[in-house]
């Protein structure tokens, strides 16, 4: 169990699912109750939260909102292929070490043991996100966001498994660094490959789905202030109808927000074939999908979205 250091200024942990929901809503993140539940649980149980889902459904956003709401530091590790220890955990600052060696030589110090303990000290270490997340923080344990883990390779995943099980890192020249309080860990994946079961077993798993129409409408109204009620309704209906089509890549919530913003920038009052055709690139990101939206399909979806009922 993590007991949050309740220092002044840092917000306390929510004490129930409802409190969690409220906390997220107060920061403009309109979560499904199920997402609030697993987030609450992951805080209470001190378990990493593993969020999987299509791109643009708000997986990364929740880590940002959570860190802001709890007044914790957000440490983000963006994964990519070939991510290794030196860019994820720590690296020695070799240039500075060499200078230190030369200085020692110039000063006439020849004690080798002394020299090696000097140059492998904390100040020659460049700390990367995973190590930063293990360090004590006055505001309480930070929120560690491990973003798009599926882009890293299996070797990194195996390493991560080790870190997530005991929140400590062993550095050969330096010793073991252990977190006094484990950080709040949120891992996201877009499922461009399957993450190994062993890692998922350590986490609470949640599939983040596209929101239902009312929730999406609320999100648009929250995130795009000043958009007219009529337009926001049409936008959401249109996007919801698109998701029912057989597209290669359905638009996520982020795309809905982008599109609504684009339309209000263009001072559109309501959806017309002309306006939709011009701004479709904010919603659909594959040429094949855009081609399919020309002509009849567009008319049909548009009619669905703009019919008054």
């Amino acid at each position: 169990m993590t007991s949050a250091a309740n220092t002044s200024g840092a917000n306390t942990m929510p004490a129930s699912v409802d409190a969690m929901l409220e906390l997220l809503t107060s920061r403009g993140y309109l979560a499904e109750r199920s997402l609030a539940t697993v987030t609450y649980l992951s805080l209470r149980m001190g378990r990493p939260l593993f969020l999987e889902g299509e791109a643009g459904v708000g997986k990364t956003e929740i880590a940002k909102v959570l860190s802001a709401a709890l007044g914790r530091k957000l440490i983000r590790l963006q994964c990519y292929e070939g991510l290794d220890v030196s860019s994820a955990v720590y690296e020695w600052n070799s240039a500075a070490q060499m200078i230190a060696i030369r200085m020692a030589e110039a000063a006439g110090d020849t004690d080798r043991d002394q020299l090696s303990s000097d140059i492998f000290a904390d100040r020659y270490m460049i700390k990367r996100p995973l190590l930063q997340a293990l360090e004590p923080d006055v505001a309480g344990p930070p929120v560690l966001l491990i973003d798009e883990l599926d882009r890293a390779d299996e070797a990194f995943e195996a390493y991560l498994l080790e870190i997530l099980s005991d929140f400590q890192v062993t550095i050969p020249e330096f010793g073991t660094v252990k977190a006094p309080h484990p950080p709040i860990v949120i891992i996201t994946s877009n499922r461009t490959r399957e993450i190994h079961d062993a890692l998922k077993r350590r986490c609470l798993y949640h599939w983040v789905d596209y929101p239902a129409a009312e929730r999406e409408l609320a999100i648009v109204k929250t995130r795009v202030p000043g958009i007219s009620a009529k337009l926001s309704q049409q936008v959401v209906r249109f996007v919801q109808a698109l998701r029912n089509q057989d597209f290669y890549k359905s638009p996520g919530v982020a795309e809905t927000i982008d599109w609504a913003t684009a339309l209000s920038e263009l001072d559109a009052r309501s959806l017309t074939p002309q306006v939709v055709g011009d701004t479709l690139g904010a919603l659909l990101k594959y040429q094949d999908d855009i081609t399919r939206m020309q002509g009849d399909t567009l008319q049909k979806v548009l009619k669905e979205a703009t019919s008054e009922n």
């Binding site: 539940t37 390779d153 399957e194």
Partner: protein, 400 residues
């Protein structure tokens, strides 16, 4: 801290329920370990268990670790927490995942029914006498079409296939390891070594890039016309899957089934049995374009992301060949590193791509190869072991 708002006898009742529920999930084929049960207990201590939806989400977050299990979980939950005594005989109507039906015998029988000719079920003793093949027999076996083999020959061929190992066909990864001829300087090791000499750098340590076999994704046609070959290919895929971890296998006939996990089992016969248990449509018709569409939509992004080579094993005899087929082939081709089409029909010397489907698919493959006997499988292995050329579009036609 956790507030235990249950009376002790209630807790006991609850613990029994959770254990029973976990057992039910396990029998429905979900991997639920004792650790998850303990987690569930402690999670239920901190939420209001009067709220059914919250209990559902809580248990789901703990027991469901794969999105495809969510449906099973939902049904199990609704059944279990409505009336536990109904559970036992209701369990039959839950659409269980196929791994759940762990009865190798039944599966094996289905394999036999689906795939084998009567001659495949000969007694083992009888086979053993036939297996003493002379050298010249072996040569014949190398060239003999799978479709014309006797049971004994098939057994021998299977053994040959099982012995096949892919040498490492390599992709450069972005990881490094110590390598004296590497291109990158390993400053850290260089420095540590220099300390032995009081800070003078004598040896420069270098790093080279690690090479790793490219992942392979096999799409295997199991329609009626491919019946003779399916089993051998599955054996082949099982054999190479041992050596390289990253082999995904999909079977398609009228629908697409992912059998990667089923094939992971060490014993080839068990692996094949669980494969066959998970497939609904052995030896039915083919709908290549619909299957490819499903693959592109549901799986391509999940299994092709790391520079995968795709093996499409099919005779290309598609009845409903239309422009969709060309479109889906094109998409598949553009989303993988190399697309190799293996076609047993190429065994006929005078084979020409007459069928509409084949004509549509041909422009979108990097290589078009026969695969109907042992030597062609060997050739395929040679191909897969070669360093990968950059994406070229030439069409290699090799006659058997």
């Amino acid at each position: 801290m956790a507030i235990n708002h249950l009376a002790p006898e209630q807790t006991e009742q609850f613990a029994d329920n959770i254990v029973g529920f976990a057992r039910a999930l396990r029998s429905a084929g979900m991997p639920v370990g004792p650790g998850a049960v303990i987690d569930a207990m402690s999670a239920l201590q901190v939420i209001d268990i009067g709220n059914r939806a919250d209990v559902f989400t809580t248990l789901e977050a703990i027991f469901v670790k794969r999105h495809e299990h969510a449906l099973i979980f939902r049904q199990a939950f609704n059944l279990f927490f409505r009336a536990s005594e109904e559970w036992k005989h209701m369990l039959d109507s839950v659409p269980l995942p196929e791994q759940a039906k762990k009865k190798p015998q039944a599966g094996a029988r289905r394999v036999q029914e689906a795939m084998s000719q009567p001659r495949m079920t000969e007694t083992p003793q009888h086979q053993e006498q036939d297996l003493r093949l002379s050298v010249s027999d072996k040569e014949i076996l190398q060239k003999k079409d799978f479709a014309q083999m006797s049971a004994a020959e098939i057994t021998e061929a299977l053994r040959a296939v099982e012995r096949m190992r892919l040498p490492q066909a390599e992709l450069l990864t972005r990881r490094h390891r110590p390598d004296p001829r590497g291109l990158r300087l390993d400053l850290r090791r260089t420095l540590r070594a220099s300390l032995r000499t009081g800070g003078d750098i004598i040896d420069i340590h270098r790093l080279g890039r690690i090479e790793k076999p490219a992942p392979i994704v096999a799409l295997l046609d199991i329609s009626g016309s491919m019946n003779e070959y399916t089993r051998l290919f599955l054996h082949f895929l099982h054999a190479i899957g041992d050596a390289r971890k990253r082999v995904s296998v999909f079977l398609f006939g009228t629908r697409l089934t992912n059998v990667t996990r089923a094939l992971r089992q060490r014993d080839p016969d068990e692996a094949l049995a669980s494969c066959s248990a998970s497939v609904e449509d052995w030896a039915g018709g083919t709908r290549i374009s619909a299957s490819l569409h499903n693959f592109n939509k549901l799986w391509a992004r999940r299994v092709l992301s790391q520079g995968a080579i795709v093996l499409l094993i099919s005779d290309g005899l598609e009845r409903e060949a239309d422009s969709r087929l060309a479109f889906e082939m094109d998409r598949l081709h553009r989303s993988c590193r190399r697309l190799i089409w293996l076609n047993p029909l190429l065994r006929f010397g005078g084979f020409e791509a007459k069928a509409q489907g084949i004509k549509m698919m041909l422009p979108h493959v990097d290589e078009f190869r026969p695969v109907h006997n042992l030597s062609s499988i060997q050739e395929l292995i040679t191909t897969l072991s070669r360093p990968l050329p950059p994406h070229h579009r030439s069409l290699i036609r090799s006659a058997a």
